[in-house]
């Protein structure tokens, strides 16, 4: 239901989330972020351009990392969200608590700014 790919660009770990994240598949997102942190990446970008759906289980994964990333000074940035997916983040005001960029270029720029 969800496919997760990781690739590294200019020192950032880019996690691509493809498909749908619900209560049955959110663990995969959680494991991918945990792995990225565990491997010592200092910038983590999440490519949401092929994310078609997210439920509260997926939102909860992102929410649970907000404090940890702040403590460790690791920018976690989501980018490329479709409007219908972005709306789910906005309904609860979660979009204000996360770093969300329009595209990869902006996400990298924001990651650089936040890393200083």
């Amino acid at each position: 239901m969800v496919q997760i790919k990781r690739l590294q660009e200019e020192g950032a770990d880019i996690i691509s989330v493809i498909g749908e994240i619900d209560a049955s598949s959110s663990i995969e997102l959680d494991l991918a972020i945990a792995k990225s942190v565990g491997e010592g990446f200092r910038k983590i970008l999440v490519d949401c351009s092929a994310l078609e759906y997210i439920s509260s289980a997926g939102l909860g994964v992102f929410m649970s990392y907000i404090e940890e990333m702040k403590d460790k000074n690791i920018p976690l940035i989501l980018f490329g969200m479709k409007e219908k997916v972005a709306n789910t983040f906005h309904i609860l005001g979660l979009a204000d608590l996360l770093n969300i960029s329009a595209n990869k270029q902006d996400a990298k720029k924001l990651a650089d700014e936040l890393s200083v």
């Binding site: 239901m1 749908e20 619900d22 209560a23 049955s24 959110s26 959680d30 759906y53 439920s55 509260s56 289980a57 939102l59 909860g60 994964v61 929410m63 649970s64 990392y65 907000i66 404090e67 940890e68 409007e83 219908k84 709306n87 789910t88 309904i91 609860l92 005001g93 979660l94 608590l97």
Partner: protein, 139 residues
């Protein structure tokens, strides 16, 4: 027009629930953003019931009913015979608190309450009926 879908309480079946809701509403001129929100609310309610009232036992069944109105007031019913999980009685901690506590849960009920106009519980033929109401203005 009414639609009905019966499904076992396995989280793997949530995708089928989303497809059922979407296909039932596809000819109703529901704007895409509203459609996605309704699909999300039904997913959240069903996954809550599957997890908390049925412990993801695939032999336990949920019945979904969708009543397509002429007036724009859509009625969604989820019928089961598990324990009642009334989201109106659920205490919602502040979002900041969930973030501070690094919690993953607690968002689904907020979403449902934010999306739906009304959530009520009733008994029918000895079963629990969770009725969600949503008024949709056509595109």
């Amino acid at each position: 027009m009414n639609y009905q879908y019966n499904i076992g309480c396995s989280l793997a079946n949530l995708k089928g629930i989303r497809e059922f809701v979407r296909s039932s509403l596809k000819d109703q001129d529901v704007p895409e953003i509203e459609m996605s929100a309704i699909v999300l609310a039904l997913d959240e309610m069903c996954s809550n019931l599957m997890i908390h009232a049925h412990h993801c036992n695939p032999e336990h069944m949920l019945e979904l009913h969708i009543e397509i109105p002429r007036t724009g007031k859509f009625i969604f019913e989820i019928i089961d015979d598990g324990s009642v999980f009334d989201i109106n009685e659920f205490h919602q901690p502040e979002l900041d608190r969930l973030v501070n506590q690094k919690r993953k849960g607690g968002l689904g009920i907020r979403l449902v309450k934010a999306i739906m106009d009304d959530v009520e519980y009733l008994k029918r033929a000895n079963k629990n009926v969770c009725r969600l109401t949503k008024v949709v203005k056509p595109e």
